[in-house]
């Protein structure tokens, strides 16, 4: 690596940062403007949820969130296209296994709580889904090669569940005359809950499947015994 070049880049980046800071500062000095906040707050009661962030995510800007689920799916499909997963880790020892037995149900439970609480306080589908995914990661770390995920067919249906329910709801609303992703008054809350539940499952499964890191296998390979790995290391 060329020292001069990296120095030059450093200087250029520093200059860029200075310009950005100056511009940012001079803009903050002006009137920050109305922005969307007051409008979003004003119409919050109509959204069916009382947490403004959830309202933005699943009502005002639900279209963004739908596509975001698409991005997540694209990443997973990309990972699956790269071939089978590597074999997992060896089976956890008794202490770790006992802990996992506690942590995983707890994570799932907390996920459910976060999903519900998202309606009126910080929380929501992504946080809940992340916890589900974390549960999967823990399972795999503890030696479950499949991270506790179901068979390939189920996995496939689950990962498209979120975006699927979202799109179908949107299209259904469009066909019934409300417009794409325009919830009818009064039903917003339940529709959002439906979408969020589906999204939570999809996100959780997607994250766990992405961590497994390969196309789901028909049958989970048995966890390799410790001895083999040692000999394999020795061979090399």
């Amino acid at each position: 690596m060329n020292r001069d070049l990296s120095l030059l880049i450093g200087i250029l980046v520093a200059l860029l940062a200075v310009v950005l800071l100056w511009v940012f500062h001079s803009t903050l000095a002006l009137d920050p403007g109305q922005r969307l906040a007051s409008l979003a707050m004003e119409r919050l009661p109509e959204t069916g949820v009382s947490n403004p962030v959830t309202a933005v995510l699943l009502n005002y800007r639900a279209y963004d969130t739908l596509l975001e689920l698409g991005v997540l799916l694209a990443a997973l499909l990309g990972i699956w296209s790269l071939g089978p997963p590597r074999p997992g880790f060896q089976r956890a020892g008794p202490a770790l296994a006992a802990m996992v037995d506690w942590v995983v149900p707890l994570a799932i439970l907390t996920g459910g709580y976060l999903l519900w609480v998202g309606g009126h306080a910080p929380g929501g589908a992504f946080q809940a889904g992340a916890l589900l995914g974390a549960a999967g990661v823990i399972m795999r770390l503890a030696g479950h090669a499949n991270a506790g995920l179901p068979s390939e067919t189920w996995q496939r249906w689950l990962v498209v569940l979120g975006a699927g329910v979202f799109t179908l709801t949107g299209l259904l609303l469009a066909f019934t005359g409300y417009g794409f992703l325009t919830y009818p008054p009064g039903q917003a809350k339940w529709l959002i809950l439906l979408i969020e539940t589906a999204a939570t499952l999809a996100i959780g499964v997607t994250l766990a499947a992405a961590y497994v890191g390969g196309r789901p296998q028909p049958t989970a390979p048995p966890p390799p015994p410790l001895v083999t790995s040692a000999s394999a290391e020795a061979d090399r």
Binding site: L28, E68, A74, F89, P221
Partner: protein
């Protein structure tokens, strides 16, 4: 306003640091972390501009944008790591095989680095 500038300014600094690190450091893992730092910097800017003084609740829109951005960043990072792991996995299987696992070899997963030095350490 000072607090807002300090928070957002920190975000811009993070962006710059991440950019520098991305360009200068070769190992993929560092590049990825650098990209995530850049992203975090931009998210900081969003959070800073959501601030509307102590009296008013913050603007929820930038917060939601940040949440979306985080998910996108996570997805991209996951895909990049998977591609990298595929690259490390080896030259001996050029086609994505549909057959089950290649062998009894155990990997520390995820294998994170393309750094030559770390490679040298695992393959003495």
């Amino acid at each position: 306003m000072i607090a807002q500038f300090l928070y957002g300014g920190a975000g811009i600094l993070l962006f710059a640091l991440g950019l520098w690190s991305l360009l200068v450091h070769a190992p993929l893992l560092r590049k990825l972390i650098a990209l995530n730092i850049m992203g975090a910097g931009v998210f900081h800017v969003f959070i800073a501009i959501a601030h509307r003084g102590d009296a008013l609740p913050p603007d929820p829109v930038p917060h939601a944008l940040v949440l979306t951005g985080i998910v996108v960043a996570v997805s991209a990072t996951a895909l990049a790591l998977a591609l990298n792991s595929r690259l490390e996995q080896g030259e001996n299987e050029p086609e994505p095989a549909s057959s089950p696992s290649p062998g009894p070899r155990i990997h520390m997963q995820p294998a994170l680095s393309t750094e030559p030095s770390s490679k040298g350490a695992t393959h003495p």
